[in-house]
Amino acid sequence: MSSVPEFAVRMTGISKSFGGVRALDGVDFEVHAGEVHALLGGNGAGKSTILKVLNGVHTPDSGSIVVGGKPLTTHAPEASRAAGIAMNYQEMSLIPTLTVAQNIFLTREAKTGSGLINDREAERRAGELFNMLEVRVDPRKLVGDLGAGQKQLTEIVKAISQDAKVLILDEPSTALAVSDVERLFVFLRKLTQRGVAVIYVSHRMDEIARIADRATILRDGKHIITAPISELPIDTMIEYIVGKRSLGLADVVRGDASRGEVLLELRGVSGRHKPSDVSLTLHAGEVVGLAGLLGSGRTALAKVIAGLEPAASGEIRVRGKRVDVRSPSDAIERGIALVPEARATQGIIPDHSVAANMTLSVIDDISVRGFVDQRRARDITDEQIRRLAIKTGSREHAVSTLSGGNQQKVVIGKWLASDPDILILDEPTAGIDIGSKSEIIRLVRQLAREGKGVLMISSELSELLTACDRIVVMADGRAHEDLPREAFDDPAAADGDLAHRLQAAEQRLQIKIQEALVGGKEESHVGH
């Protein structure tokens, strides 16, 4: 009818196998120009595979791709980019040793008249883009020196800067503060008004419901449904994603917390920069959540407790005894284990087997005269695989072959192998699908029932509310409030169904976090 193509992207019958495993099975995926299209699915559903096919990282075994009305026949990142496709990867397209501006314009550098790279110009243009998004990131900083949120903003700006017709955002908000997500959404709306198609991948249903126009759901490498978001309430979405009902968070029963002795006590603990003057107690059998925005000092606090960062002042007591935690091995000795946020770099060795990863922290305990007792290593691994229900071909499979949720279970299993009393989980469900999320939450509750004290950091409030007995609201490095879980229940909504009650509690927690922000000074999370 007109020369403007209706479809920004039209992928038909895409199949792709990796060594016998069918990652994509005849998938159709169509995105209109000027819409935000959510791509949903659990881990292993094929989301990242189809996106990598679209932007040329993978070559499909069969199927056709049409971008902006023109068939895309060459499968290479350069060809896809030339066709107008830009994508942010989950922190994988940034080079830590280059500056923010250099990263954003990598391979598209601004040049002077004589053809040499002009970094000043790149910094100016990067600055403009950040201003447009109304966020503050210093274009001259090395990416390696940035925090997670700033890296993510850099990723997003890098994708945006390409002036693409199709912008793919893969989990763009995992490390962003709420206010930055708002600004991102406003900006995406501006882009779609100009006819840009946005493909938005997220595990956060609330976000999807707000930003997306339509959604496509994949499961097990197959196309399940494409529909306007108005026809997909969150429950229905989850139903399509997991393929069966009953895996929503609201179904996790918290059960009774029988509080035992005080395991961990912090008195006025401060770090070099953050946290500042934090006091809290953690009892056996209890899950305490740390809520707050990015940069509120939650991770910094975890690091101080686990001996990764030195405490500048204050005291840490374990079972009533004052302890000096100066290194992770000190912490492990006191029964404190931290499951870190960035599992790929801090939690596991991806190329090593499940068994090797699992026994890494207890290698001395299971060694006899320097030789690892293979049978005990096997037993420990098998027990954890069973206990955590880890889906792996065998204990000898490389961890990198597992899905995100199962990798996270390996990380947790690795720390459980040392049998800690105090377990600190930093964003244990980041980037994993909703089915695995509720499994992890169940696991956290189970650990508490076994008498462990769990300190849990999460940016997903519904998770904190589902998992925790108490929630400490942090902002600006300080603990502002320490509230029992019940404090978030809305008496008026007590009769509603579980999901509804959770939603009401989430709103209250949200308000508390905002109050804490105002109570402390509004803190910029720019730089550290």
Binding site: M92, L94, L98, Q102, L106, I117
Partner: protein, 324 residues
Amino acid sequence: MSATDVNSGEQSPSKLRTFLGDWRQNIIYIGFVVIFVVFALTLNDKGFLNPNNLLNIVRQTAMIAVMAIAMTFVLSAGEIDLSVGAVAGLASVTVALAISAAGPLAGVLAGIATGLAVGVFNGWLTTRIGIPSFLTTLAMMGIAKGIAMWVSDTAAVPILHQGFAWLFGGGAVGRIPVLLFWTLVLGVIGHVALKRTGFGRRVLATGGGETAARFSGIDTRSIKFRVLVLSSLAAALAGMLYAGRLQSGRFQLGEGDELSVIAAAVLGGTSLFGGKGTVIGTIVGAMMIGLINNGLILMGLEFSQQLIARGGIIILAVALSQKR
């Protein structure tokens, strides 16, 4: 100072850190000056500051510097080339043989061909077959040396063409040795190429994060291939400079240079793990190694003592330049 620290908590520490960071980054320049001053004060009576001695240092370090400039690219891309010394020796022999057979132009072409052949082979093995460059070039070290011994029958091959000898190493403009020009010209080209061209940026990106670079649309294999070719070409040029300076080609020329070359780059602030490199630092690093060698000789240390002292100084300098 500490009062402002408390008040403006955001600003002061970062400034302080920037300063400390700069200090560590610039340790090579500070170290160079310190060592120079110490030698000037203690070895003045032995002729350290004599212009001839200083020019001699330049002559002795030129080949190391030339190879180290290319090595900066190799290391920045996250690879390594251990074959440079042996390739320099091989090139000196092929050049000398070609000159005696067919004249100076053939000699230069033979040198370039030698570098190109070795580099393409190194690059092909590393990027296509997938053998780590550490192993590829370690094996090439032996192969190049073996070929050089074989074709020269382990004897020195004389170069009788004066023009070649002048241009490649032996000559001087006034008192300024030609070797200094080689170092400076290649240094400027190398510096601009690494910092200001798309190629240099791609090299740094490849070494800084290969996956990220690939996802950004950089053909990292091609980058690695090219830096290895570049390195062998530079090694072949260094071989020609050795041959011109000594008016002969010998398989022993350049022997063991790979260590000095890598040390020069690392001293200058280039990371062995890729992603970080500076050509200016590398040249100063090469000069510093030449300076140390010269000073230790003037001090009258025995060769064994020189080796120990040199190793110690390099470890100290690299340790000081590490970020903590």
